[in-house]
Subunit: 246 residues, 2 copies
DNA sequence: TCCATATTTCGATAGTAAGCGAAGCATTTA
DNA sequence: TAAATGCTTCGCTTACTATCGAAATATGGA
Protein backbone atom coordinates (compact mmCIF):
# COMPACT_ATOMS: atom_id res chain seq x y z
CA UNK A 1 0.00 0.00 0.00
CA UNK A 2 2.75 2.44 0.88
CA UNK A 3 6.24 2.58 -0.56
CA UNK A 4 7.62 -0.06 1.76
CA UNK A 5 9.17 -2.06 -1.05
CA UNK A 6 10.68 1.02 -2.57
CA UNK A 7 12.58 1.62 0.63
CA UNK A 8 13.84 -1.95 0.68
CA UNK A 9 15.04 -1.61 -2.86
CA UNK A 10 16.63 1.73 -2.14
CA UNK A 11 18.64 0.05 0.59
CA UNK A 12 19.56 -2.83 -1.71
CA UNK A 13 20.74 -0.44 -4.39
CA UNK A 14 22.82 1.53 -1.91
CA UNK A 15 24.22 -1.70 -0.48
CA UNK A 16 25.45 -2.64 -3.93
CA UNK A 17 27.56 0.52 -3.95
CA UNK A 18 28.47 0.37 -0.29
CA UNK A 19 31.34 -2.09 -0.49
CA UNK A 20 34.86 -0.61 -0.89
CA UNK A 21 35.79 -3.07 -3.64
CA UNK A 22 32.66 -2.37 -5.61
CA UNK A 23 33.01 1.37 -5.08
CA UNK A 24 36.49 1.19 -6.59
CA UNK A 25 35.15 -0.68 -9.59
CA UNK A 26 32.36 1.83 -10.07
CA UNK A 27 34.77 4.74 -9.85
CA UNK A 28 36.86 3.21 -12.61
CA UNK A 29 33.76 2.61 -14.72
CA UNK A 30 32.74 6.26 -14.31
CA UNK A 31 34.86 7.07 -17.35
CA UNK A 32 32.19 5.41 -19.46
CA UNK A 33 34.44 2.75 -20.93
CA UNK A 34 34.06 -0.98 -20.66
CA UNK A 35 36.52 -3.08 -18.65
CA UNK A 36 37.02 -6.81 -18.44
CA UNK A 37 36.41 -8.71 -15.25
CA UNK A 38 40.15 -9.18 -14.86
CA UNK A 39 40.83 -5.46 -15.08
CA UNK A 40 38.15 -4.74 -12.52
CA UNK A 41 39.58 -7.49 -10.33
CA UNK A 42 42.90 -5.64 -10.40
CA UNK A 43 41.52 -2.26 -9.25
CA UNK A 44 39.49 -3.90 -6.55
CA UNK A 45 42.58 -5.80 -5.46
CA UNK A 46 40.78 -9.00 -4.51
CA UNK A 47 40.74 -12.61 -5.71
CA UNK A 48 39.05 -13.18 -9.04
CA UNK A 49 36.41 -15.27 -7.34
CA UNK A 50 35.56 -12.38 -5.05
CA UNK A 51 35.50 -9.90 -7.93
CA UNK A 52 33.20 -12.17 -9.86
CA UNK A 53 30.72 -12.13 -7.02
CA UNK A 54 30.93 -8.35 -6.80
CA UNK A 55 30.29 -7.96 -10.50
CA UNK A 56 27.28 -10.19 -10.49
CA UNK A 57 25.87 -8.18 -7.65
CA UNK A 58 26.37 -4.90 -9.51
CA UNK A 59 24.74 -6.42 -12.58
CA UNK A 60 21.87 -7.73 -10.50
CA UNK A 61 21.10 -4.19 -9.35
CA UNK A 62 21.36 -3.02 -12.95
CA UNK A 63 24.19 -0.67 -12.10
CA UNK A 64 26.39 -2.25 -14.77
CA UNK A 65 25.74 -4.17 -17.95
CA UNK A 66 27.86 -6.96 -19.27
CA UNK A 67 28.64 -7.98 -22.81
CA UNK A 68 30.47 -11.16 -23.60
CA UNK A 69 33.10 -11.06 -26.30
CA UNK A 70 34.93 -14.28 -26.81
CA UNK A 71 36.39 -15.35 -23.53
CA UNK A 72 36.24 -11.84 -22.12
CA UNK A 73 33.35 -10.28 -20.32
CA UNK A 74 33.21 -6.53 -20.64
CA UNK A 75 31.44 -4.51 -17.98
CA UNK A 76 30.27 -0.92 -18.24
CA UNK A 77 27.91 1.36 -16.37
CA UNK A 78 24.34 0.56 -17.33
CA UNK A 79 23.45 4.07 -18.47
CA UNK A 80 24.03 7.79 -18.01
CA UNK A 81 21.56 7.93 -15.11
CA UNK A 82 23.75 5.61 -13.09
CA UNK A 83 26.74 7.83 -13.82
CA UNK A 84 24.76 10.91 -12.81
CA UNK A 85 23.68 9.28 -9.57
CA UNK A 86 27.26 8.32 -8.74
CA UNK A 87 28.40 11.86 -9.49
CA UNK A 88 25.80 13.27 -7.12
CA UNK A 89 26.88 10.82 -4.44
CA UNK A 90 30.49 11.89 -5.00
CA UNK A 91 29.41 15.49 -4.73
CA UNK A 92 28.11 14.83 -1.25
CA UNK A 93 31.29 13.07 -0.25
CA UNK A 94 33.42 15.96 -1.42
CA UNK A 95 30.97 18.58 -0.26
CA UNK A 96 30.94 17.18 3.25
CA UNK A 97 33.79 19.50 4.15
CA UNK A 98 33.36 22.71 2.17
CA UNK A 99 35.78 24.57 4.44
CA UNK A 100 38.81 22.47 3.70
CA UNK A 101 40.59 22.77 0.39
CA UNK A 102 39.50 19.97 -1.92
CA UNK A 103 41.44 16.76 -1.62
CA UNK A 104 40.81 16.03 -5.31
CA UNK A 105 44.09 15.79 -7.22
CA UNK A 106 44.63 19.00 -9.26
CA UNK A 107 44.94 17.06 -12.49
CA UNK A 108 41.53 15.48 -12.01
CA UNK A 109 40.06 18.82 -11.02
CA UNK A 110 41.37 20.41 -14.19
CA UNK A 111 39.98 18.00 -16.75
CA UNK A 112 38.41 14.57 -16.55
CA UNK A 113 35.68 12.53 -18.12
CA UNK A 114 32.22 12.28 -16.60
CA UNK A 115 30.82 9.12 -18.16
CA UNK A 116 31.08 10.14 -21.83
CA UNK A 117 31.62 13.88 -21.71
CA UNK A 118 34.13 16.32 -20.24
CA UNK A 119 34.13 17.63 -16.69
CA UNK A 120 36.34 19.75 -14.46
CA UNK A 121 37.61 23.34 -14.67
CA UNK A 122 38.14 23.18 -18.40
CA UNK A 123 34.68 21.81 -19.16
CA UNK A 124 33.04 24.40 -16.91
CA UNK A 125 34.96 27.22 -18.59
CA UNK A 126 34.08 25.83 -22.00
CA UNK A 127 30.40 25.68 -21.12
CA UNK A 128 30.46 29.29 -19.98
CA UNK A 129 32.16 30.38 -23.20
CA UNK A 130 29.59 28.50 -25.31
CA UNK A 131 26.86 30.42 -23.52
CA UNK A 132 28.70 33.76 -23.69
CA UNK A 133 29.36 33.43 -27.42
CA UNK A 134 25.70 32.43 -27.89
CA UNK A 135 26.62 29.16 -29.57
CA UNK A 136 24.43 27.48 -27.03
CA UNK A 137 20.88 28.44 -26.17
CA UNK A 138 20.62 29.99 -22.65
CA UNK A 139 18.78 26.91 -21.42
CA UNK A 140 21.75 24.79 -22.53
CA UNK A 141 19.38 22.43 -24.29
CA UNK A 142 19.89 23.49 -27.91
CA UNK A 143 22.50 24.94 -30.24
CA UNK A 144 21.99 28.29 -31.96
CA UNK A 145 22.54 28.60 -35.71
CA UNK A 146 26.01 30.08 -35.26
CA UNK A 147 26.87 27.48 -32.69
CA UNK A 148 25.90 24.62 -34.92
CA UNK A 149 27.89 26.15 -37.80
CA UNK A 150 31.06 26.73 -35.80
CA UNK A 151 31.01 23.42 -33.98
CA UNK A 152 30.40 21.47 -37.16
CA UNK A 153 33.43 23.25 -38.65
CA UNK A 154 35.45 22.03 -35.67
CA UNK A 155 34.46 18.46 -36.37
CA UNK A 156 31.70 18.12 -33.80
CA UNK A 157 28.86 15.92 -34.97
CA UNK A 158 25.80 18.03 -34.30
CA UNK A 159 23.32 15.54 -35.76
CA UNK A 160 22.33 12.95 -33.17
CA UNK A 161 21.64 9.59 -34.83
CA UNK A 162 18.54 9.01 -32.75
CA UNK A 163 16.37 11.07 -30.47
CA UNK A 164 16.37 8.72 -27.53
CA UNK A 165 18.99 10.69 -25.67
CA UNK A 166 18.61 14.28 -24.59
CA UNK A 167 20.41 16.47 -27.14
CA UNK A 168 22.20 18.71 -24.67
CA UNK A 169 21.88 19.72 -21.06
CA UNK A 170 23.83 20.67 -17.98
CA UNK A 171 25.46 18.39 -15.48
CA UNK A 172 26.62 19.58 -12.07
CA UNK A 173 30.38 19.34 -11.73
CA UNK A 174 31.26 18.05 -8.29
CA UNK A 175 34.74 19.50 -8.13
CA UNK A 176 33.76 22.91 -9.47
CA UNK A 177 30.21 23.16 -8.11
CA UNK A 178 29.21 24.68 -11.43
CA UNK A 179 27.59 23.30 -14.55
CA UNK A 180 29.26 21.71 -17.51
CA UNK A 181 27.78 20.46 -20.77
CA UNK A 182 26.32 16.96 -20.85
CA UNK A 183 23.84 15.08 -23.00
CA UNK A 184 24.48 13.95 -26.51
CA UNK A 185 26.29 17.16 -27.46
CA UNK A 186 28.65 16.85 -24.51
CA UNK A 187 29.54 13.39 -25.73
CA UNK A 188 30.06 14.56 -29.34
CA UNK A 189 32.26 17.40 -28.09
CA UNK A 190 34.55 15.02 -26.22
CA UNK A 191 34.77 12.77 -29.27
CA UNK A 192 35.73 15.69 -31.51
CA UNK A 193 38.30 16.93 -28.98
CA UNK A 194 39.83 13.48 -28.88
CA UNK A 195 39.74 13.07 -32.65
CA UNK A 196 41.58 16.36 -33.09
CA UNK A 197 44.06 15.28 -30.40
CA UNK A 198 43.20 18.32 -28.31
CA UNK A 199 42.73 16.09 -25.30
CA UNK A 200 43.99 12.62 -24.57
CA UNK A 201 42.36 10.14 -22.23
CA UNK A 202 44.54 8.66 -19.54
CA UNK A 203 44.26 4.93 -19.56
CA UNK A 204 43.79 4.06 -15.93
CA UNK A 205 41.79 6.98 -14.69
CA UNK A 206 39.17 9.52 -15.60
CA UNK A 207 41.91 12.08 -16.12
CA UNK A 208 42.08 14.05 -19.38
CA UNK A 209 45.29 15.57 -20.73
CA UNK A 210 45.06 18.86 -22.57
CA UNK A 211 47.64 18.68 -25.36
CA UNK A 212 49.69 21.59 -26.71
CA UNK A 213 47.57 21.76 -29.85
CA UNK A 214 44.48 21.56 -27.66
CA UNK A 215 45.68 24.55 -25.71
CA UNK A 216 46.11 26.51 -28.95
CA UNK A 217 42.70 25.41 -30.21
CA UNK A 218 40.95 26.46 -27.01
CA UNK A 219 42.52 29.89 -27.33
CA UNK A 220 41.82 30.33 -31.06
CA UNK A 221 38.34 28.88 -31.32
CA UNK A 222 36.88 29.53 -27.90
CA UNK A 223 38.93 32.45 -26.57
CA UNK A 224 39.97 30.40 -23.57
CA UNK A 225 43.44 30.83 -22.10
CA UNK A 226 43.99 27.62 -20.12
CA UNK A 227 47.39 26.16 -19.50
CA UNK A 228 47.71 22.43 -19.95
CA UNK A 229 48.57 20.32 -16.95
CA UNK A 230 52.18 19.19 -16.69
CA UNK A 231 52.54 16.17 -18.93
CA UNK A 232 54.27 12.91 -18.20
CA UNK A 233 53.34 12.58 -14.55
CA UNK A 234 51.86 9.29 -15.55
CA UNK A 235 53.64 7.71 -18.54
CA UNK A 236 51.36 6.89 -21.43
CA UNK A 237 51.09 3.18 -21.22
CA UNK A 238 51.30 1.19 -24.46
CA UNK A 239 49.80 -1.91 -22.91
CA UNK A 240 46.07 -1.87 -23.67
CA UNK A 241 43.92 -1.17 -20.65
CA UNK A 242 46.46 -2.41 -18.16
CA UNK A 243 45.22 -1.55 -14.71
CA UNK A 244 47.71 -1.13 -11.93
CA UNK A 245 47.23 -2.97 -8.69
CA UNK A 246 47.23 -0.72 -5.73
CA UNK B 1 47.95 10.49 -5.02
CA UNK B 2 44.88 9.08 -6.73
CA UNK B 3 41.31 9.21 -5.54
CA UNK B 4 41.62 6.17 -3.31
CA UNK B 5 40.15 7.91 -0.30
CA UNK B 6 37.30 9.27 -2.34
CA UNK B 7 36.28 5.73 -3.20
CA UNK B 8 36.42 4.69 0.45
CA UNK B 9 34.23 7.60 1.37
CA UNK B 10 31.84 6.89 -1.46
CA UNK B 11 31.40 3.41 -0.02
CA UNK B 12 30.92 4.80 3.48
CA UNK B 13 28.28 7.23 2.27
CA UNK B 14 26.44 4.49 0.41
CA UNK B 15 26.70 2.21 3.43
CA UNK B 16 24.95 4.85 5.52
CA UNK B 17 21.97 4.60 3.19
CA UNK B 18 22.23 0.86 2.66
CA UNK B 19 20.45 -0.32 5.79
CA UNK B 20 16.69 -0.94 5.51
CA UNK B 21 15.94 0.90 8.74
CA UNK B 22 17.95 3.92 7.72
CA UNK B 23 16.46 3.86 4.22
CA UNK B 24 12.99 4.03 5.74
CA UNK B 25 14.02 6.99 7.87
CA UNK B 26 15.50 8.79 4.88
CA UNK B 27 12.38 8.18 2.81
CA UNK B 28 10.28 9.76 5.52
CA UNK B 29 12.66 12.71 5.74
CA UNK B 30 12.42 13.22 1.98
CA UNK B 31 9.40 15.43 2.59
CA UNK B 32 11.78 18.06 3.92
CA UNK B 33 10.28 18.23 7.38
CA UNK B 34 12.00 17.58 10.68
CA UNK B 35 11.08 14.56 12.80
CA UNK B 36 12.01 13.62 16.34
CA UNK B 37 14.09 10.59 17.12
CA UNK B 38 11.02 8.87 18.51
CA UNK B 39 9.06 9.39 15.31
CA UNK B 40 11.91 8.06 13.23
CA UNK B 41 12.19 5.12 15.60
CA UNK B 42 8.57 4.32 14.82
CA UNK B 43 8.93 4.23 11.03
CA UNK B 44 12.09 2.19 11.28
CA UNK B 45 10.28 -0.16 13.63
CA UNK B 46 13.28 -0.89 15.84
CA UNK B 47 14.23 -0.29 19.46
CA UNK B 48 15.01 3.29 20.37
CA UNK B 49 18.57 2.33 21.12
CA UNK B 50 18.96 0.94 17.62
CA UNK B 51 17.35 4.00 16.05
CA UNK B 52 19.66 6.24 18.01
CA UNK B 53 22.68 4.51 16.55
CA UNK B 54 21.24 4.77 13.06
CA UNK B 55 20.63 8.47 13.46
CA UNK B 56 24.11 9.18 14.67
CA UNK B 57 25.47 7.32 11.69
CA UNK B 58 23.35 9.36 9.28
CA UNK B 59 24.47 12.55 11.00
CA UNK B 60 28.10 11.42 10.88
CA UNK B 61 27.86 11.14 7.09
CA UNK B 62 26.21 14.57 7.00
CA UNK B 63 23.09 13.14 5.40
CA UNK B 64 20.95 14.60 8.17
CA UNK B 65 21.32 17.49 10.57
CA UNK B 66 20.03 17.56 14.09
CA UNK B 67 18.68 20.40 16.15
CA UNK B 68 17.95 20.02 19.82
CA UNK B 69 14.80 21.59 21.19
CA UNK B 70 14.20 20.91 24.81
CA UNK B 71 14.18 17.22 25.36
CA UNK B 72 13.46 16.49 21.71
CA UNK B 73 16.00 16.09 18.98
CA UNK B 74 14.71 17.01 15.55
CA UNK B 75 16.33 15.48 12.50
CA UNK B 76 16.02 16.66 8.91
CA UNK B 77 17.88 16.10 5.67
CA UNK B 78 21.08 18.10 5.66
CA UNK B 79 20.32 19.99 2.43
CA UNK B 80 18.63 19.89 -0.96
CA UNK B 81 21.62 18.10 -2.53
CA UNK B 82 21.04 15.13 -0.26
CA UNK B 83 17.39 15.08 -1.30
CA UNK B 84 18.37 15.29 -4.97
CA UNK B 85 20.82 12.42 -4.58
CA UNK B 86 18.18 10.28 -2.90
CA UNK B 87 15.73 11.10 -5.66
CA UNK B 88 18.22 10.02 -8.30
CA UNK B 89 18.85 6.79 -6.41
CA UNK B 90 15.09 6.23 -6.24
CA UNK B 91 14.88 6.90 -9.95
CA UNK B 92 17.25 4.03 -10.59
CA UNK B 93 15.30 1.73 -8.33
CA UNK B 94 12.06 2.53 -10.08
CA UNK B 95 13.60 2.79 -13.52
CA UNK B 96 15.15 -0.63 -13.24
CA UNK B 97 12.05 -2.16 -14.76
CA UNK B 98 10.63 0.33 -17.26
CA UNK B 99 8.46 -2.37 -18.86
CA UNK B 100 6.33 -3.14 -15.86
CA UNK B 101 3.67 -0.70 -14.74
CA UNK B 102 4.98 1.40 -11.88
CA UNK B 103 4.47 -0.03 -8.42
CA UNK B 104 4.24 3.48 -6.99
CA UNK B 105 0.84 4.03 -5.35
CA UNK B 106 -1.37 6.20 -7.62
CA UNK B 107 -1.89 8.79 -4.93
CA UNK B 108 1.87 9.32 -4.59
CA UNK B 109 2.29 9.40 -8.34
CA UNK B 110 -0.36 12.09 -8.62
CA UNK B 111 1.01 14.61 -6.14
CA UNK B 112 3.70 14.48 -3.49
CA UNK B 113 6.44 16.59 -2.00
CA UNK B 114 10.02 16.35 -3.18
CA UNK B 115 11.97 17.82 -0.28
CA UNK B 116 10.35 21.26 -0.22
CA UNK B 117 8.55 21.50 -3.53
CA UNK B 118 5.84 19.63 -5.42
CA UNK B 119 6.37 16.53 -7.54
CA UNK B 120 4.27 14.01 -9.42
CA UNK B 121 1.80 14.28 -12.30
CA UNK B 122 0.34 17.51 -11.05
CA UNK B 123 3.71 19.22 -10.61
CA UNK B 124 4.87 18.10 -14.05
CA UNK B 125 1.68 19.40 -15.66
CA UNK B 126 2.00 22.66 -13.76
CA UNK B 127 5.57 23.11 -14.91
CA UNK B 128 4.54 22.56 -18.53
CA UNK B 129 1.74 25.11 -18.21
CA UNK B 130 4.10 27.68 -16.69
CA UNK B 131 6.36 27.27 -19.71
CA UNK B 132 3.48 27.26 -22.21
CA UNK B 133 1.97 30.43 -20.77
CA UNK B 134 5.45 32.01 -20.78
CA UNK B 135 5.33 32.77 -17.08
CA UNK B 136 8.59 30.92 -16.80
CA UNK B 137 11.65 31.51 -18.96
CA UNK B 138 12.30 28.58 -21.37
CA UNK B 139 15.38 27.62 -19.37
CA UNK B 140 13.20 27.30 -16.26
CA UNK B 141 15.67 29.41 -14.33
CA UNK B 142 13.82 32.73 -14.24
CA UNK B 143 10.33 34.20 -14.23
CA UNK B 144 9.11 36.46 -17.02
CA UNK B 145 7.46 39.80 -16.20
CA UNK B 146 3.97 38.38 -16.65
CA UNK B 147 4.86 35.31 -14.67
CA UNK B 148 6.10 37.30 -11.72
CA UNK B 149 3.01 39.50 -11.83
CA UNK B 150 0.53 36.62 -11.94
CA UNK B 151 2.27 34.46 -9.37
CA UNK B 152 2.62 37.34 -6.95
CA UNK B 153 -1.12 37.94 -7.33
CA UNK B 154 -1.66 34.29 -6.38
CA UNK B 155 0.32 34.76 -3.19
CA UNK B 156 3.61 33.29 -4.33
CA UNK B 157 6.60 35.04 -2.83
CA UNK B 158 8.77 35.78 -5.85
CA UNK B 159 11.47 37.62 -3.90
CA UNK B 160 13.98 35.19 -2.46
CA UNK B 161 15.33 36.48 0.88
CA UNK B 162 18.89 35.52 0.00
CA UNK B 163 20.72 34.51 -3.14
CA UNK B 164 22.41 31.43 -1.75
CA UNK B 165 19.87 29.10 -3.28
CA UNK B 166 19.20 28.76 -6.98
CA UNK B 167 16.11 30.82 -7.82
CA UNK B 168 14.43 28.23 -9.99
CA UNK B 169 15.36 25.14 -11.94
CA UNK B 170 14.12 21.77 -13.02
CA UNK B 171 14.18 18.55 -11.08
CA UNK B 172 13.67 15.16 -12.70
CA UNK B 173 10.51 13.53 -11.47
CA UNK B 174 11.13 9.84 -10.85
CA UNK B 175 7.57 8.69 -11.26
CA UNK B 176 6.85 10.76 -14.36
CA UNK B 177 10.30 10.79 -15.95
CA UNK B 178 9.73 14.42 -16.82
CA UNK B 179 10.79 17.67 -15.22
CA UNK B 180 9.04 19.58 -12.51
CA UNK B 181 9.89 22.93 -10.95
CA UNK B 182 12.42 23.00 -8.14
CA UNK B 183 14.71 25.59 -6.60
CA UNK B 184 13.57 28.43 -4.45
CA UNK B 185 10.54 29.17 -6.64
CA UNK B 186 9.37 25.57 -6.43
CA UNK B 187 9.48 25.89 -2.66
CA UNK B 188 7.59 29.19 -2.67
CA UNK B 189 4.96 27.70 -4.95
CA UNK B 190 4.28 24.84 -2.58
CA UNK B 191 4.05 27.25 0.35
CA UNK B 192 1.53 29.41 -1.51
CA UNK B 193 -0.52 26.37 -2.53
CA UNK B 194 -0.61 25.23 1.07
CA UNK B 195 -1.42 28.71 2.37
CA UNK B 196 -4.36 28.95 -0.03
CA UNK B 197 -5.45 25.44 1.01
CA UNK B 198 -5.19 24.22 -2.58
CA UNK B 199 -3.14 21.28 -1.42
CA UNK B 200 -2.82 19.67 1.97
CA UNK B 201 0.18 17.72 3.18
CA UNK B 202 -0.47 14.25 4.50
CA UNK B 203 1.09 13.83 7.89
CA UNK B 204 2.79 10.49 7.61
CA UNK B 205 3.91 10.47 4.00
CA UNK B 206 5.07 12.60 1.12
CA UNK B 207 1.59 12.50 -0.28
CA UNK B 208 -0.18 15.74 -1.23
CA UNK B 209 -3.97 16.10 -1.35
CA UNK B 210 -5.46 18.37 -3.99
CA UNK B 211 -8.47 20.01 -2.37
CA UNK B 212 -11.70 20.98 -4.11
CA UNK B 213 -10.72 24.64 -4.09
CA UNK B 214 -7.30 23.65 -5.37
CA UNK B 215 -8.91 21.87 -8.27
CA UNK B 216 -10.89 25.02 -9.11
CA UNK B 217 -7.82 27.22 -8.77
CA UNK B 218 -5.75 25.02 -11.07
CA UNK B 219 -8.45 25.26 -13.68
CA UNK B 220 -9.03 29.01 -13.33
CA UNK B 221 -5.48 30.26 -12.93
CA UNK B 222 -3.46 27.69 -14.85
CA UNK B 223 -5.97 26.18 -17.28
CA UNK B 224 -5.34 22.74 -15.86
CA UNK B 225 -8.16 20.22 -15.61
CA UNK B 226 -6.98 17.75 -12.99
CA UNK B 227 -9.29 15.78 -10.81
CA UNK B 228 -8.39 15.53 -7.18
CA UNK B 229 -7.54 12.13 -5.77
CA UNK B 230 -10.29 10.51 -3.71
CA UNK B 231 -10.14 12.07 -0.27
CA UNK B 232 -10.39 10.33 3.04
CA UNK B 233 -8.44 7.20 2.20
CA UNK B 234 -6.21 8.18 5.03
CA UNK B 235 -8.05 10.09 7.74
CA UNK B 236 -6.53 13.46 8.56
CA UNK B 237 -4.89 12.81 11.86
CA UNK B 238 -5.26 15.46 14.55
CA UNK B 239 -2.39 14.07 16.60
CA UNK B 240 0.73 16.09 15.70
CA UNK B 241 3.28 14.13 13.71
CA UNK B 242 2.12 10.77 14.91
CA UNK B 243 3.92 8.13 12.91
CA UNK B 244 2.32 4.76 12.48
CA UNK B 245 4.28 1.63 13.21
CA UNK B 246 4.30 -0.76 10.36
C1' DT C 1 12.54 18.17 44.64
C1' DC C 2 10.71 14.18 42.32
C1' DC C 3 8.85 11.77 38.54
C1' DA C 4 7.88 10.96 33.69
C1' DT C 5 9.61 11.18 29.19
C1' DA C 6 13.33 11.45 25.60
C1' DT C 7 17.49 9.81 24.18
C1' DT C 8 22.09 7.66 24.48
C1' DT C 9 25.53 4.21 26.07
C1' DC C 10 26.81 -0.50 27.07
C1' DG C 11 27.18 -5.52 26.63
C1' DA C 12 25.87 -9.60 24.38
C1' DT C 13 23.99 -12.23 20.44
C1' DA C 14 23.10 -13.50 15.82
C1' DG C 15 22.91 -12.98 10.90
C1' DT C 16 25.14 -11.34 6.83
C1' DA C 17 28.53 -10.97 3.61
C1' DA C 18 33.38 -10.27 2.18
C1' DG C 19 37.27 -12.80 1.80
C1' DC C 20 40.24 -16.84 0.04
C1' DG C 21 41.56 -21.07 -2.50
C1' DA C 22 40.32 -25.14 -5.06
C1' DA C 23 37.76 -27.00 -8.53
C1' DG C 24 34.87 -26.57 -12.59
C1' DC C 25 33.32 -24.78 -17.13
C1' DA C 26 34.03 -22.24 -21.36
C1' DT C 27 36.74 -20.29 -24.99
C1' DT C 28 40.81 -19.34 -27.48
C1' DT C 29 45.52 -20.59 -28.97
C1' DA C 30 49.03 -23.97 -30.07
C1' DT D 1 43.50 -32.58 -29.10
C1' DA D 2 46.08 -30.39 -25.48
C1' DA D 3 47.34 -26.37 -22.97
C1' DA D 4 46.38 -21.79 -21.45
C1' DT D 5 43.48 -18.16 -20.20
C1' DG D 6 39.11 -15.97 -18.40
C1' DC D 7 35.70 -16.37 -15.36
C1' DT D 8 32.34 -18.66 -12.10
C1' DT D 9 30.78 -21.85 -8.46
C1' DC D 10 31.52 -24.05 -4.07
C1' DG D 11 32.90 -24.61 0.71
C1' DC D 12 34.75 -22.54 4.49
C1' DT D 13 36.42 -18.88 7.74
C1' DT D 14 36.28 -14.41 9.62
C1' DA D 15 34.83 -9.81 10.56
C1' DC D 16 31.41 -6.62 10.88
C1' DT D 17 27.13 -4.67 12.26
C1' DA D 18 22.13 -4.64 13.19
C1' DT D 19 19.60 -5.92 16.82
C1' DC D 20 17.84 -6.10 21.64
C1' DG D 21 17.30 -5.08 26.69
C1' DA D 22 19.10 -2.89 30.65
C1' DA D 23 21.11 0.86 32.65
C1' DA D 24 22.61 5.63 32.44
C1' DT D 25 21.88 10.54 31.40
C1' DA D 26 19.29 14.60 30.36
C1' DT D 27 15.20 17.52 30.21
C1' DG D 28 10.53 19.26 31.47
C1' DG D 29 6.67 19.43 34.33
C1' DA D 30 4.31 18.83 38.85
Amino acid sequence: MDDYFLEQKLAAMAAAIADPSRARMLCLLMDGRAYTATELTAVADVASSTASKHLSRLAEQQLVHCIQQGRHRYFRLANAEVAAMLESLMGLVVGARPLVVSKTPPSLRFARTCYDHMAGEMAVALHQRLLAMAWLDPSSTALTGTGRQHLTALGVNCQPPDARRRFAGTCLDWSERQFHLGGWLGCALLQAFEASAWVRRELDSRQLQLTASGQQALSRHFGLALSAMPLGLRATNPVPNKVARR
